[in-house]
């Protein structure tokens, strides 16, 4: 019997786990995939939004601004990549100035600091590649960019270090009220808990439904992206938005924390919660819309394309609260969900504290150290590391300069990688311009050796296969 069962190992669930792990609670996180960060959290714009988009008074507004303010310190303590690069929202017609002003007012009401509107010329002085068609821009210096994988893993690993139990490759199949809490049924057996946190992303409505809660639905909103080579990473230094529409923040152009350039997303509501396929129309739309903002985008430098699904709730706000006795939803966590994750976790903890006394845990560890990034170290640090562990003297991924030492660490550490994508998200091996063509055979061999299985058992991602003994 756990105190809390968290359903979903995305950024929301992992942030909640890390937050609850500060208290004397037994917590279990259940995730259907074989790794955390396998859904919406791994395929999004990776933006730490300033918070001017959301309607004042909404949870989105409040939690976004709070999450934004928390990010710098969190990224230090939990060791994930974050950069406060600032953002601009562009308009292309003089007549849209009023919309930009409304956005600024909204932002100010939400408590976003230092918003200013600047002329197109001034915007181009700051970002020389901006289109000549840009008439005005809203400048938001508190906007940032983050590594969503590292951020989710950081929360997960910190939670794990503080005693949260992770049940991966475990799919929830039913939820029943029990005498003193809830019984969560899974494909690997039943789990009992006093409280349940539903952090199930695009499946949050299905999970809620299992608990008898049918007052919201989640529509996956497909967003297609293109990621460009680091050669193109300097095209812009800030995150460049266009005036938002009711389907979201539009197509953006942004550097990533690792120096690539990301353009996207499209916004298409779909039914299939698993449909992460890109389409030729979607990618064409990304190309044409992003080209409105920035001149000369080097589309010949695209190294990969991907689709993410935003979990859009039908209330147009985050759905956070106690929906049944001891059953809490954190649903409809679409943008700005990544930014808001630590604030959502705080809110969930607040809600829980009204049900049960939360006693701080002695010996809680509030820091976490990620996989060393060899390439980012000084020469002296590199040599000290190699002297201690020679595997850091062997480059496995040449594009991103990732060493064998990093990959071995990614596999062996708690909640370690068991798939190629798991290694990639923890180390960046395979995330560069050759897209794992060079390193994947080597990474497969390292996984095979560490996990003690055959080459054929090494998966790219997804769920563990149940071996058919017959």
């Amino acid at each position: 019997m756990y105190d809390v069962i968290i359903i979903g190992g995305g950024v929301t669930g992992c942030a909640a786990a890390a937050e609850l792990a500060k208290y004397r609670l037994s917590v279990c996180l259940v995730e259907k995939e074989s790794d955390v960060c396998e859904g919406t959290s791994k395929a999004n714009s990776a933006i730490v939004h300033a918070g001017f988009d959301a309607e004042p008074g909404t949870l989105k507004a409040k939690l976004n601004v709070r999450g934004n303010a928390m990010m710098a310190e969190l990224s230090q303590k939990l060791d994930f990549a974050f950069r406060n690069n600032g953002a601009m929202v562009l308009c292309f017609e003089d007549s849209q100035l009023s919309d930009l002003e409304k956005l600024k007012e909204k932002g100010e009401k939400n408590g976003v600091p230092d918003l200013t509107i600047i002329s197109g010329d001034k915007a181009r002085a700051l970002e020389p590649k901006l289109s000549a068609e840009v008439k005005y821009a809203l400048l938001a210096p508190t906007s940032g960019i983050v590594c969503p994988f590292e951020m989710t893993l950081a929360f997960a690993e910190n939670a794990y270090a503080n005693g949260v139990e992770f049940r991966l490759s475990t799919e929830v199949t039913g939820i029943e009220k029990s005498a003193d809490g809830w019984c969560v049924k899974t494909d690997k057996g039943e789990i009992l808990g006093s409280y349940v946190f539903n952090c199930a992303g695009v499946y949050a409505d299905k999970i809620a439904e299992m608990a008898g809660i049918r007052d919201f639905s989640i529509t996956p909103r497909k967003g297609e992206y293109m990621l460009m080579d680091k050669d193109a990473g300097g095209t812009v230094s800030r995150t460049i938005f266009q005036l938002p529409t009711k389907m979201g923040k539009g197509v953006l152009v942004t550097p990533t924390v690792h120096g690539n350039l990301l353009v996207g997303p499209t916004a298409e509501n779909i039914d299939d919660k698993e449909n992460t396929a890109t389409t030729s129309q979607g990618l064409a739309e990304v190309r044409s819309k992003s080209a409105l903002s920035v001149d000369g985008l080097p589309f010949n430098k695209v190294i990969t394309s991907f689709t993410g699904l935003r979990a859009v709730g039908d209330t147009h706000d985050f759905i956070i609260g106690e929906a049944a006795d001891g059953f809490f939803n954190a649903a409809g966590i679409e943008s700005p969900g990544l930014t808001s994750a630590p604030a959502i976790a705080e809110m969930l903890r607040e809600l829980l504290s009204k049900k049960t006394d939360l006693v701080p845990k002695d010996g809680h560890i509030d820091t976490r150290k990620g996989v060393v990034h060899f390439a980012a170290l000084s020469r002296e640090e590199q040599n000290a590391l190699i002297a201690r562990e020679p595997a850091y003297g062997n480059i496995v991924c040449r594009c991103e300069t990732v060493t064998e030492g990093e990959i071995l660490d990614a596999i062996s550490r708690p909640l370690g990688a068991t798939t190629l994508d798991g290694v990639k998200r923890r180390t960046r091996a395979g995330m560069g311009r050759c897209q794992a063509g060079f390193c994947s055979p080597k990474t497969i061999l390292l996984l095979k050796e560490k996990l003690g299985c055959g080459i054929g058992d090494i998966r790219k991602n997804g769920r563990e296969e149940v071996k058919d003994d017959a």
Partner: protein, 419 residues
């Protein structure tokens, strides 16, 4: 800081041939840096035969061809540092290297030969829509898994792109018991060698679908199949021609990209047509004392051409060191690709002090039948050669005698004339 007359980056066929030649031309203090644990580069995974017909007048496998040069390197006593990755090359030729034993180290080179080879164009760069499941490999990655690790990634295979590695892998996968349903090629002609189409596809009854491409990839976690469609003259898929091919493996053989990240960081000027360094007739890049050869310079189809080219780079590097590491300040004329010629290597020639005959290598922009290759200096014809057929998949090598070029001051043009 350790110092060398010549540092060779890469111990594949280019690096080895460059080292042997540099030594033959009098350089003593040479080192080959190789990131793998043995010499040979990509040849080590090319276990099929067909290598060395020009160089050794016999058909060797890739590892055999590599071994011929590795033996020479050993016998000549040329030092090789394996398991060593080059992290950086500065414009003043300080090379930063990494290996387990020595850690990160800077070494000083009087001359550098870039011989890093090339990489395959990945799925992402092709913008193929669809899911991103397990089962999509570049042909070379699959070749490594099959030939070096003994692991055959699938049973039902579709290949996109008819580059040579894709064709070779069509045969390899068939020999390993897989069924290759088709090779789809976007262009109306193959980018692979004719002999490979005959020996690897025709002999195994594997259809080559020209002007076809993959328009969708199905299967969320594991590949379930691909949709192939015919394309029009603008390479756009034609609606209604889509056909589903169930498969668990999609191999991509859609082009090779010279691997010039080190070169770019060093400040070497890159030709956007070849994605390789701009070089002169001695294969010297825009940075003094830095030379390039093999697939890092431009993608070759025959290793024999790589070895020959690399030998010239080794000779040039030796000459550079012997003349005191001073730049060649003599005037250079340009070599300009014209009608039907996509690029030329070299891009310029110092006609005042040629080491020997000049090779002009290039590829054509399309298929040309009954045509002539015409090389001119200004209006003066230096060479005119008839050809029955020229195809983009075959690199052309035109040799202009040293005395024809000595003192020529007008730019050279290379063009294809249809007769």
């Amino acid at each position: 800081m350790r110092e060398f007359d010549l540092v060779i980056v890469g111990g594949g066929p280019a690096g080895m041939a460059a080292a042997v030649s540099a030594k033959e031309h009098g350089l003593e203090n040479i080192v080959i840096l190789e990131r793998d644990s043995e010499l040979g580069g990509i040849l080590n995974q090319c276990i099929h035969n067909g290598f060395g017909l020009h160089t050794f007048k016999e058909e060797l496998t890739g590892p055999e061809y590599a071994e011929r040069y590795a033996v020479k390197v050993r016998e000549m006593g040329i030092p090789v540092e394996t398991d060593t990755m080059v992290l950086d090359i500065s414009a003043d030729r300080v090379v930063t290297i990494l290996n387990r034993g020595r850690g990160v180290e800077e070494i000083k080179a009087k001359s550098v030969i870039l011989a890093m080879g090339c990489r395959e164009r990945p799925r992402g760069a092709l913008n193929i829509p669809g899911y991103r499941p397990q089962g999509v490999y570049t042909a070379g990655t699959a070749q490594k898994l099959v030939n070096c690790e003994g692991y055959v990634p699938g049973k039902e295979v579709v290949i996109l792109g008819s580059g040579d590695i894709g064709l070779i892998m069509a045969r390899r996968m068939s020999l390993e018991g897989a069924h290759v349903a088709a090779v789809a090629e976007l262009m109306p002609y193959s980018s692979g060698l004719k002999r490979n189409i005959v020996q690897c596809l025709d002999d195994y009854g594997i259809p080559l679908l020209l002007s076809h491409t993959v328009v969708d990839i199905k299967g969320k976690e594991k590949l379930e199949g691909v949709v192939i469609a015919q394309v029009d003259e603008k390479n756009a898929p034609i609606a209604g021609t889509e056909q589903f091919y169930p498969c668990d493996t999609l191999l991509l053989s859609c082009g090779l990209i010279p691997e010039n990240e080190l070169s770019k960081n060093c400040g070497v000027e890159i030709d956007p047509r070849t994605n390789g360094p701009v070089v002169d007739e001695g294969l010297e890049t825009s940075i003094d004392g830095v030379f390039a050869c093999g697939n890092v310079l431009h993608v070759h189809d025959l290793v024999d051409f790589v070895s020959e080219e690399a030998a010239r780079a080794g000779e040039s590097a030796a000459a550079f060191v012997k003349r005191g590491c001073t730049a060649d300040d003599t005037a250079a004329i340009k070599v300009i690709p014209q009608n039907g010629v996509r690029y030329t290597v070299p891009a310029q020639i110092h006609t005042a002090d040629l080491l020997g005959d000049v090779h002009i290598r290039f590829r054509v922009t399309g298929v040309f039948k009954n045509c002539e290759i015409v090389i001119k200096a200004g209006e003066t014809e230096l060479l005119r050669r008839k050809s029955r057929i020229l195809v983009p998949s075959e690199m052309l090598d035109i040799i202009i005698k040293k005395d024809r070029l000595a003192g020529v001051s007008e730019d050279i043009t290379a063009a294809i004339e249809e007769v």
